[in-house]
Symmetry: C2
Subunit: 408 residues, 2 copies
Amino acid sequence: MNAIIITIGDEILMGQILDTNSQYMSRRLTEIGVEVVEQLSIPDKGEEIYETVDYAMQHADLILVTGGLGPTKDDVTKKVLTEYFGTRLVFHPQAMEWLEELLRNRNLPMNENNRSQAYLPESCRILRNFKGTASGMWFERGWKSLISLPGVPFEMEHLMDTYVIPDLKVKYPHLQLAYRMLKVYDVPESALAHHLEEWENALGEGLKLAYLPSPGLVKLRITAKGDAVQHLDAAYDTLKEVLSGMKYTEGEDALEKQIGNVLRKKGATLATAESCTGGEIARLITSVPGSSDYFKGTVVAYANEVKIRVLGVDEKDIEREGAVSETVVLQMAEGVKKLMNTDYAVSTSGVAGPDGGTPEKPVGTVWIGVATPEKTFARKFAFSFTRERNMAKAAAKALELVMLEMGV
Amino acid sequence: MNAIIITIGDEILMGQILDTNSQYMSRRLTEIGVEVVEQLSIPDKGEEIYETVDYAMQHADLILVTGGLGPTKDDVTKKVLTEYFGTRLVFHPQAMEWLEELLRNRNLPMNENNRSQAYLPESCRILRNFKGTASGMWFERGWKSLISLPGVPFEMEHLMDTYVIPDLKVKYPHLQLAYRMLKVYDVPESALAHHLEEWENALGEGLKLAYLPSPGLVKLRITAKGDAVQHLDAAYDTLKEVLSGMKYTEGEDALEKQIGNVLRKKGATLATAESCTGGEIARLITSVPGSSDYFKGTVVAYANEVKIRVLGVDEKDIEREGAVSETVVLQMAEGVKKLMNTDYAVSTSGVAGPDGGTPEKPVGTVWIGVATPEKTFARKFAFSFTRERNMAKAAAKALELVMLEMGV
C-alpha cells in the first residue's frame, strides 16, 4: 500500500516555515508498513490543490493532506475537496457543539470565521479535533482514502494518533514493511560504503541498505519489503559482523535517549557546562521525557566571568590559554560536576562563528571535556562550517563522547 | 519566473530525516523574486527521478534538485540527469584535482567511491563544492535551468550562496516579488482574521495577506507581485494602522534576534534560569551570531537541589509551593540575575509532560519569571500540549515577555 502526502501553504513554498508535518506523517505511516512514495508541497490556490489531489488519487492508495483548514481567508482546501468529491458543504450541528465547547474552554468568542468551520462536506467522515477548531475529514472513493488534517502540527499529530493510524491498521491488516537501523561513528560515508560494498551486493531480493549521514556519524538502515521481512533479522546480524571493530550503536533512538537509558540503568547522573553550544546539549537531553531522573542541570557559561565565578575556572588560565582551550574545558567539566554533584559531566568551548576566529583557533575549533567518576579528559575538534552547524555538531559529538565513555 | 524544488531520498519519505533543504532553497529563491510553485520529495529510484524531472521541466522555468549525489549506492541522480539531458558521464580531471585536495585536507584516502565523483555529465556546468565531494551540476535547456546540488545541508547551502543565487540574479535581472511581515501577539488567528477582514477585502490586485500562526503569536505577511510591488509599503502602513492597540513587532526576524538588537542598543545584558525549558531559551539566544555581546549565560536547574544551591531558591518555598510556582520562578530569575550580574533575567518552571501532571498543576502548566532593573514579576500559562510543544511554547513566551517588557 502506498501513500502520497500533500502539504498546502504559501508559507512553506516561500520558505518562511519549515514543513515538519510531512516527516511526522511519513514516519507514522512507515511504522505501520505504508510506503510513502511522494511528499508534495503546493500553494493554497484552489486550482493547484484540485489538480494535485487528482494526481495523487490516481497514483496512490492513501492520500494525506494538511494545511489550508484554518479559519482564515487563505484556506481553500475544504472547498476544493468538497468539489472534488462531488459533495456539498452542510451545517454539522455536532461540529458546532464541539466548536462551542472548545471556545468556551479557552474563553474565546464565537465569530463568523469560527462558525464557518461547522460547515463540512456531507459525504466524508468527520474527525473530531480536540485541540483546535478545524475538524479532520476522511473521504473514501473505492478502496482509496483521502484524509485531510489541519496544518497546525500538534493538531495534525493529535488526529493522526487518535484516528488515522489506529483506523488504518484496522482497515488494512496485511501491511508489511520493516526496517532495522544502527549508527556508525567516526567513519566517513565513502569509506563505510567501500567497506560494506561486498556485503551489500549480496543482499537478497526485497532487502535494501541506505546510508543516512549526520554530523559525526552515519546511520545505516536496512529495509525489507513483503516476503523479505522474514530475512531482515539475519541480514541485520551479518551487517553487525561486518561492522565489528567499528564504533556503532544499535537502534534508531537518538543519542540523547540512549544516554538516558544507560544513565538510568547505572543509577548515575549528568550535568553539562556549555559555552559554544549555548544550551543545545541540555535541550537535547531534556527533550527526552523522564530525563529529570538522571539529568541535574547545566551552566551555560557564555561570558568568561561566568566560567570563573560560577564554574571555578582559573582566570589566569583563561588569560594565558584563552577560553577555547583544553585546560578551560577540563575545569568547566570538573566545575559543573562538583557544583551539581553528579557522576558525569560534559563541557564545551569553541568558536562557533561566523566571527571570532583566529589563525590558531579558526571558526569551528571546539574543545570538549568529559568528567567521569574515574577521570577527566578533553578532545579538540575542527568542524569549520556554519554557526548553526558548529553548535549542532559540537553538541552531537559531546553526547557521543559521553556515551562511548560510559562503555556502550 | 517560477521554480520547482525536488528533494530525493527514501530517508525523507520514511520520515527518518527532516527535509530542511526545501525551506532553505525556497527562502533564498523567494528573496530574489523567484516564485516556488511546488516542493516535491521522491524516492531515490531512477524511474521516479526521471519522471519527476520531466514533469518539473515542463511546469517550471527553474528546477532545483538535492540529494542523491553522494558516493553511496543509493545515489542515482547523476546517472538519471545524464540520461535525461542526453549527454554522457566523462572523467573531469579538474574535479579529480578538487577531490584530491579536499581529501588531502581531511586526511582521508581516495577510494573507488570517491573516484566516481570525478565522472560528471559532459554538457553541464560543474559547480565546485568546497565543503564536500559531490560537485553541483547546472544544466540548461532553452531558457530553463535545472541545478542539481548535494543533499547534505551545509554543502547545498554553500553552493546556493556561492553560485546559484548570485548567478540567477545576473541571469534574470527583472525578477519582481516582495513581502513585508509583522508578528501579532496574544490574539487568536480567528479573532485577528475577523478584525482584518474589511482591510483585507480592500487590498488591491497583486497584493495578498497570509496568516502564519506560531506558538503564542500570528505572523502576518503581505506579498506583492509584479506592478503591485510599488503599493506594498502603503498597504503595510495601513495594516499597522488597523492593528493599532494590539501588541505587534515588525519584520520577520526571530524574537531572539530582535531581543538581541534591543539589548545591544541598550547596552544591557541577559541571563536565563531554566527548568522546564531545559536550555531551549539559551539555545535560541545563542543561535544569533554576536550574542556574546549581551548574553552572559544560563543555569538549567533541572534538579531542585540545583535551584536551591546554585540559584539560591529557598528550600522551604519549594516544599510548600512546589517547584512549579510563582515564588520559585521569581527567586530563580532574581538568583540568576545576581549570580551572573546582568540587567535582565528570565526563568521558567513547569510541567512539560507527558508525566508529572497533577489536578492542580496539569501537564502544560508553566510559570515564567522576568527580572528587570526595576522589578521582578511572574506569569502563569497553561499550554497543555505535547512535551516538545510545551518546551517550545514556554521558551517563545519567555522571550516575548522579556521583549515586551523592554518596551518594544
